[in-house]
Symmetry: C2
Subunit: 237 residues, 2 copies
């Protein structure tokens, strides 16, 4: 199979020296890439700038991703060429539009006017006591994938923080529907540490529980292979 994996986090620039970033080490994406490679599949890894990546391998291509725009352009290119997409990346859901000082914001009668402004300076001044940053929602990357390739097997991730298991499952089911995903790995930041990583791999009819990053990666590899085989068996009958 040709497997597209996204890992790490994106960073949206505020100016030349600052940005908003989503925290993600890329550990799970690295493990996934290694396990897919070990099972003899071809891997394209779209990795955030500071994400951990596997050692070089003849069947591995690593592409560094800075922000949502660069992620979308690579997803658009690689999704049609892939059989499986595992989208672990922590994608920025907002990007900076304009940053200015608090007094300017207070003196602006209609705040919507500030949304069409742009910072022209390369490095925004740090003289003022307070700054105000206006942010705009970014496109949902996971929602684009099945449109780019309706037969791709899509595994998405849903990270929540301190929620009951029922809510994790419900949110994962919602994401399955909305994004036409085959599986969603739902996890809670509170049950992720260096030594454990609780996860629920949720499909339309099933929920599988896993305890570690290693087991999450192994389960995703085996479920991808199983789904791929079923799909291709059906087509060949």
């Amino acid at each position: 199979m040709r497997v597209l994996i996204t890992s790490g986090g994106t960073t949206e620039k505020i100016d030349s020296v600052r940005g908003i970033t989503n925290f993600a080490t890329g550990t799970l994406g690295k493990l996934l890439a290694e396990q897919f490679l070990a099972a003899n599949h071809t891997v394209i890894l779209l990795a955030g700038l500071t994400a951990l990546v596997p050692d070089a391998h003849p069947k591995l291509t690593i592409i560094k991703i800075s922000d949502v725009t660069s992620l979308i352009s690579n997803i658009t290119k690689w999704t049609p060429l892939s059989d499986v997409c595992v989208h672990t990346m922590a994608v920025s859901d907002y990007k900076p539009v304009y940053m200015t000082d608090l007094d300017t914001v207070k003196q602006t009668p209609n705040l919507t006017d500030l949304l069409s402004k742009h910072n022209l300076e390369h490095k925004i001044s740090s003289q003022q006591d307070y700054q105000v940053l206006f942010l705009k929602k970014t496109p949902k990357v996971i929602a684009m994938i099945k449109d780019l390739n309706p037969t791709i097997i899509l595994i998405g991730f849903k990270l929540m923080v301190d929620v009951p298991t029922e809510q994790l499952i419900q949110t994962a089911r919602q994401s399955l529907m909305t994004n036409k995903a085959d599986y969603i790995l739902a996890n809670d930041l509170n049950t992720i540490s260096e030594t454990q990583h609780l996860g629920l791999l949720v499909s339309q009819h099933d929920i599988m529980e896993v305890q570690s990053k290693h087991d999450i990666a192994a389960l995703i590899v085996s479920k991808s292979e199983e789904t791929y085989d079923n799909y291709h068996d059906c087509r060949n009958r």
Copy 2:
């Protein structure tokens, strides 16, 4: 000499999954640490979470720094114990206070009221089209160093973007005065790449030009040693 080096960037959390970060790879801090170690000095390296760091060495201690608060607590601890401080770190000059949606901000008559609010949710919702983030200035870390240890040799960094050389020098001189620094390395993002790193090491009476990260590190090591020797010679006379 006992040398305290800060390197990489700090990140200020917005919530459990997002933060504002200053871009810095830690390359120069790593080189500085290696060159001070090679000259047989003892190094404490305060390094941002994603900063590059040198290999282990018997005279090297590496401490990971997440945000400005953790930087200040380590600077307060280590500055009185050090002879030299090379402060290369890209420190967040603003930290998040409160993030909310644009409609809420529009409906708040006095925006100052929002500055005393805090986000109670662990992961701020990404439903709204626009969000507004209020940021507050952080304390200037470089300004604390000479107060913590008046005899420390302080080398600061001033990164600007796309400015004339005259302005670089003037800003460096200003920083020398304000922060009671012995040297300021002034540099411009536009003349930094993988292969070059133009810098001006500015002291009260001198300006030295360097062309690469390696030369910047070498010059800082030799100037630190020279200043240390002069200072201790004077005291022993």
